[in-house]
Symmetry: C2
Subunit: 234 residues, 2 copies
């Protein structure tokens, strides 16, 4: 059986405002697109944060970033690579000025795994479908230019799949022992999400869950004590 | 117009041996799958390295890794995070024991961008199609558990897309100024490539090249002097 993946950008969402019912708004689009049980819905952090009212105005960026930071991992000039309360390590602790009004910054959701779980419950209730949900954000990486989408929230699918104990077709242990499945899906969804935010979500069909149980995006955060690059005092 | 991406795992390749004509072997599969001009073919490093004879036998892993290393970025126990001659930073300098014979290690291609370009030329000649090609490898990341596919070779499409100067729909500068397009495609292809190497390639249709010129995977390597995490002497 040939494995085929299909990823559709979800268009037509209105500009999201604090208090909007994102599950309701996305459900309409998902119904139009013919979503099916087993599909995964990828949603950008930005619309989740807006709907949850995670916006601040009238403050300096540096102060907002400081409030969202639990550890400064690296700093150069105005750029701060910071660990957030979630354990995520990213530029400006996830504080972002794009695709929001002038003078406003968006913050990461308080509990992105919880946000994903609530969307999943909303889709289940409204559509009668068992859908996976990931919340994506756009992160830079050490050593490599450019950004890719990663999964900061996850519900209804495995986020990290542990293949230890499985073998390749030479019966040798697989080198890639843990696959960051939710990050692969997030990066893939970045290919259909418009960079100007007109397409803030995607429907992904055909993901092989690799027989793993559902997990959370928190499973993708390497514990600080195992991390060779988590510098700075917490 | 709804943006849709379709990714198909390419099955049925024989076990690749040194000297095999990978372009020829993949062309047959691509013809069967109905490849079209504009599609992108993602191929794992492992089969490229095998076809190019980048295998070593009868030596200790540590010695082989040392030979492939130009800079040790971090080390813990047996794990070496090393910079390769290409500027890639990855575990064991890309030396890998999975999906090769016992006692054998695979090395990264000498020039992965050149490997991609040769495959692209082969597809053009054999199929009469203008296809993008990326060579993928599976890398770990600081701060996050698990591996994702990245692009270590690229031809016929932009690898990094610079969006500086473009604006969001609030007319504010886009925060994600450089998009690692080839890495997004690589990660997406990881969703259909079997982890036991029976599916070492994928056909990706529907990539938006974002109006950028073709590039090389070398464009995705951050210059050491701009990198906050490139430790160690070269």
């Amino acid at each position: 059986m040939t494995r085929t993946l299909r990823i559709v950008g979800l268009e037509g969402l209105p500009e999201i405002q604090p208090g909007d019912d994102l599950g309701h708004l996305l459900s309409s689009t998902l119904r139009t697109e013919g979503a099916r049980t087993g599909d995964v819905v990828a949603v950008t952090q930005k619309v989740v944060s807006k709907a949850e009212g995670r916006l601040v105005s009238g403050r300096d960026l540096a102060d907002v970033v400081a409030d969202e930071t639990v550890r400064v991992v690296a700093r150069r000039g105005d750029l701060v690579i910071a660990e957030t309360v979630h354990g995520l390590v990213c530029a400006n602790a996830g504080v972002d000025a794009s695709n929001v009004n002038e003078g406003t910054f968006s913050l990461l959701p308080v509990d992105p795994d919880g946000s994903a779980e609530r969307l999943r419950a909303s889709f289940s209730e409204r559509l009668g479908l068992d859908l996976g949900v990931i919340i994506t954000d756009t992160f830079g990486r050490p050593w490599r230019n450019g950004v890719v989408n990663v999964s900061i929230g996850c519900a209804g699918l495995p986020a990290a799949v542990d293949l230890r104990g499985r073998t390749d077709h030479h019966d040798r242990a697989l080198a890639a022992t843990i696959v960051a499945l939710a990050d692969e899906i997030a990066a893939a969804s970045g290919l259909v999400m418009a960079k100007d935010a007109r397409i803030p979500a995607a429907l992904v069909r055909g993901v092989d869950r690799l027989g793993a149980p559902d997990g959370r995006a928190a499973d993708l955060i390497r514990p600080a004590e195992e991390d060779l690059f988590r510098f700075g005092e917490r």
